[in-house]
């Protein structure tokens, strides 16, 4: 029977409260006697701290306490890093600096005061005596002999070197018929810049000895474990609540020093302590994304078949590891081959310390970098061989019947039909017509460019064997005596809309109205276990756990109803709030059966009372959504300004539960991916000062900068989970960046332009146009 609710454009359950400003974010949490915290941060990128004088701050109005790095030494654990990489160097990363600072914005001391303004005023009165040290911000310079070493105890600035190799390189390298194409590509540093900055309220109750923490986080359960360890509190005494969270994009998949200090302060003072990050702090001291140098080399047959790819990655990790800092670039290596069956691969990834904020997960997290590399390179190959970019891609796609497909990178792609999405894209965009238009415009000296990107991503993370803290997810379904249903999820959506998706999944299994389902997540006292929301896993893994739990409920209810109705459980259908036989002759209301189960008057033998079930879903593999994007850009011949005229995207994220939410994820993802290509860059000067420390300088993309996105979805289901859903949270970001760069490079092809580094600021383009005009 086709579902009446899966695949439907159902409006988001969470929107009425959010749109009306009635949701509760961390800053809306107000507790009796609550104190406020502000941080004094390093103004130097690298310096020895000779002294920290807090006397003036202490006597500032409203100040209750000033906490320094010296004070917390040994009393508050270090900021954890969970990345499991062989031979990884992990520098000590205290919550507050002691002895030295390694990046601008590093927290040095915390002021706790009776109000937020007084805390800030006092923090500005903390006097730090610095002895500046040489600064290194360029990771290549950090690798040179004689560079300043940021953590001398670790020997040098190399945090790790990881190699990934597959295939038969001897054969490739001795084949003289192959063309070798090389290019250096840069994935510049970006700021995740979620709408809501970070924030935390820590409340330690000395009587009960419990710590309750409201945090703007994507991972309440992991945070709870880590905070318990950091503070030495028994974990069952520790509760983390992620209330409404206004976006994270990976930046809140972390545990930050500020969170630890807030908890420490609350325990010490016996009062709730709130810290709300300012936008400036957010740009400075919340993890950054990307920041890789990629030297790539591909080996191509004369007919366009790519047979080998080598890539040397220099990943700028910043000064310290955050939770997953070093793991992110290793995802780049894993996905470097994109959706092409390239049989030989070599990737060397070098993680390097610099005097900057740590990089870590940012929407896509390692995969946009990989997609940028492979998709730029495919365009270069097409051009070198004078082939059309679409034809070259078709030539290198594996055929749909080759899946599951083992790649030399060690991953196995589940299912795909890359030909189908690309063909559809070419059709809806009128690709061949656009090429003709381009030809015509070129004759008039106008620059129109078409940029393709056919991407595959790795998501639905993931099997526990590949994840630092488990890759399963928890879901629970409970039917109340009234027949209304409560769903609990261990994921922690923060804007994506899974309260709606999850309700659809449960309503579908139980045959009840969507409005009868309420979804809760984010509170570790309410949801017993969980991993969180990241890596486009929430629906595919978390949704499956709910599906499985709902199936258990359904089985039990069918048995109870069959006992009452005198039919076999298998004859019963769940639909429209009823449990009935196919012909409708025998029927009970869903609530009626729930009451039977819970009041337990006449249960069949061997059936326990109650209607609550949970499931831990452990996927056997990742999933691999894919898609094909086309950007159409125009370049202003006089100014170099780039106009994004059209954008087409055909995405296949497996089973679509709610097309409207998928559209939303794609649109937002596109905006961020296009943002990287055209505008965004988080820039430090050589002294390690952040040049883009406000939104007046850091170019977050805005809605009015985009054309109407023409999007379509296709559905190639995954066998990895019973829903067939793959994940879509990061697809737009992963696919779009190279499409834009390919389009602009294509526009400038008549000028002999082969590559341009991001962001594609008009001035760069203008300089090329000018050079060409004078040549």
């Amino acid at each position: 029977m086709p579902s009446t609710i899966l695949g439907k454009r159902i409006k988001r359950k969470e929107d009425p409260r959010l749109i009306q400003g009635r949701g509760h974010y961390v800053d809306d949490i107000k507790l009796d006697g609550m104190l406020h915290m502000a941080f004094a941060r390093s103004i130097h990128a690298h310096a020895r701290i000779k002294s920290v004088n807090v006397a003036a701050a202490r006597s500032s109005p409203g100040v209750v306490d000033v906490i320094t790095g010296e004070e917390i030494k040994g009393k508050l654990g270090l900021v954890p890093c969970a990345a499991g990489i062989e031979g990884l160097k992990v520098p000590d990363h205290p919550c507050l600096a002691t002895g030295k600072v390694c990046y601008v914005g590093e927290p040095i001391a915390a002021v706790v005061a009776t109000d937020r303004y007084l805390a800030r005023d006092a923090a500005d009165k903390i006097e730090v005596d610095y002895e500046p040290l040489p600064v290194v911000t360029d990771p290549e310079k950090a690798l040179q002999a004689g560079s300043t070493v940021i953590h001398p105890e670790l020997g040098d600035n190399v945090a790790f070197v990881a190699r990934l190799e597959g295939g038969d390189w001897k054969a490739v390298e001795s084949d003289s018929s192959l063309k070798v194409i090389k290019q250096r590509l840069i994935n510049q540093r970006l700021a995740p810049a979620s709408m809501e900055t970070r924030g935390v309220v820590a409340h330690y109750s000395p009587g009960e000895e419990t710590l309750t923490v409201w945090s703007s986080t994507q991972i309440p359960h992991i945070l709870k474990t880590q905070l318990a360890l950091m503070l030495g509190i028994d974990e069952p005494h520790c509760r983390v609540i992620a209330p409404e969270v206004g976006g994270g994009f990976g930046s809140k998949l972390n545990l930050y020093g500020e969170e630890g200090v807030a908890c420490y302060a609350s325990r010490k003072l016996g009062k709730p302590v709130k810290w709300i990050e300012s936008r400036r702090e957010n740009l400075l001291a919340t993890v950054h994304g990307r920041d890789q140098i990629n030297d790539v080399e591909v080996y191509v047959q004369p007919d366009g078949k790519v047979v080998g790819l080598k890539c040397w990655i220099i990943a700028d990790l910043g000064a310290y590891h955050q939770l997953l800092t070093p793991a992110i670039p290793t995802l780049t290596a894993l996905m470097i081959l994109g959706c092409y069956h390239i049989k030989n691969v070599f990737v060397e990834t070098k993680g390097v310390f610099t005097n900057k904020m740590a990089t870590d997960a940012y929407r896509g997290a390692g995969r946009p970098e990989a997609t940028y590399v492979i998709e730029r390179v495919m365009d270069m190959v097409a051009r070198e061989l004078n082939m059309d970019a679409a034809d070259l891609r078709m030539k290198n796609f594996p055929s749909p019947d080759e899946f599951p497909l083992d790649l030399p990178t060690g991953v196995t792609y589940d299912t795909a039909n890359y030909q189908k999405t690309l063909k559809r894209l070419l059709k809806i965009s009128g690709y061949s017509r656009l090429r003709k238009e381009q030809e015509k415009l070129r004759k008039q000296g106008k620059y129109l460019g078409l940029g393709l990107s056919t991407y595959v991503e790795i998501c639905a993370m993931g099997p526990s064997s590949r994840m630092p803290a488990g890759g399963w997810e928890f879901g629970a379904v409970k039917v109340e005596p009234t027949g209304k249903v409560m769903v609990l999820s261990g994921t922690s959506p923060h804007g994506q809309g899974e309260e709606t998706t999850f309700a659809q999944i449960a309503a579908d299994v139980l045959g009840i109205p969507f409005d009868d389902v309420t979804v809760y997540h984010g509170d570790t006292f309410q949801v017993p276990m969980g991993i969180g929301t990241f890596g486009s896993r929430t629906t595919a893994v978390g949704g499956t756990a709910i599906h499985n739990a709902a199936m258990q409920i359904r089985k039990k209810m069918a048995r109870i109803a069959s006992h009452k109705l005198g039919v076999k459980p298998g004859e019963l259908i769940f639909s429209e709030g009823k449990i009935h036989t196919r012909d409708g002759a025998k029927s009970m209301g869903f609530a009626e059966v729930a009451a039977e189960a819970i009041f337990a008057k006449q249960l069949p033998e061997g059936i326990e009372p109650g209607l609550a079930a949970h499931s831990f879903f452990e996927p056997s593999n990742y999933t691999f959504p894919f898609g094909a994007h086309l950007a159409v850009t125009e370049v202003d011949a006089e100014t170099g300004e780039i106009k994004l005229r059209n954008y087409y995207a055909v995405d296949d994220c497996g089973r679509v539960i709610n097309p409207m939410l998928v559209d939303g994820q794609i649109h937002g993802g596109l905006a961020q991916g296009i943002g990287q290509a055209l505008w965004e860059s988080h820039v430090y000067d050589e002294n390690g000062q952040l040049m883009t420390g406000t939104l007046m300088d850091y170019a977050v993309p805005k809605a009015h900068q985009f054309p109407w996105f023409e999007t379509e979805t296709m559905e190639t289901k995954t066998p990895i989970n019973p829903l067939g859903a793959k994940g879509v949270g990061e697809a737009g970001t992963i696919g779009s960046t190279p499409a834009i760069v390919n389009a602009v490079v294509d526009a400038l092809r008549p000028l002999g332009v082969r590559h341009l580094d991001m962001p594609l600021q008009p001035e760069k383009v203008w300089r090329i146009l000018k050079q060409h005009a004078t040549a």
């Binding site: 800030r120 936008r279 505008w679 820039v683 939104l695 300088d697 170019a699 001035e763 203008w766 300089r767």
Partner: protein
Amino acid sequence: MIPEPFEYHIPKNLEEASRLLAQFGGEGKILAGGHSLVPMMKLRLAAPKHLIDLGRLTDLKYIRESDGRIEIGALTTHFQIQSSSLLKEKCPLLPETAREIGDVQVRNKGTIGGSLAHSDPAADWPAAILALAGEIQARNVSSSRWIPASEFFVDLLTTALGGDEVLTAIRVPVAPPRSGHAYLKLHHPASGYAMVGVAAQVLLNEARHIESASVGVTGVGPKAYRATAVEEALRGKAPSRQNLEAAAAHAAEGIDVNSDLYASAEYRSHLAQVYTRRALEKALERAHGK
């Protein structure tokens, strides 16, 4: 993102506002829409000890026509100007400029008086008011004067307003027949302010040659300016592409051109020239259409 402490005053009328301003001297600041001042305070780039909020002075919110002039009260918001049907008819350069400022919230709160008094080097209003040869009214406790726009903008964030003067109104001539206008702006990708903004007004003579042109440029130098060399070069000229291009080449002449992460001085000068020519073209097209 938290300002230093300050005292907040709400004068009930202009006299009281002027008195407070005179009383506090350098320690007092007028608060209009707050959309330039408050961000500066939050970044602690400005720390006035006293804020004098003009919010109650609703009689400074008006747009009216008299004696061939348009007069606009200092507290009129960008949105009120953008949506004024009087202005669309009598001085369309102003609504066209307003439309380019910030976003909806900014246009609903920000005021023309606040923008001019602030003299941000990349603000939009200064270019338009310069191109229209507008005048700006300044009042203190005892007197009032009209300052020509050409003398009003002194330097980066500095105007001819005295420390005790409140900016109360702006006036500009009604657009004459056979005239055309345009405001063209390249938005800074981060701030949305003008990387370059050019306001042009042209007047054609009987022979459909350029009788006069006036050009205000913002975003390029430390303050908005009139591109007088461009204007001179166009006087009496036929509106040919060649003449426009030659004239526009002077757009950044003698200016100490800004540079930032998004545009070097060299590129900005080039943009000033291209945008000047394009603004003139558009203004001419409109003048011809009349």
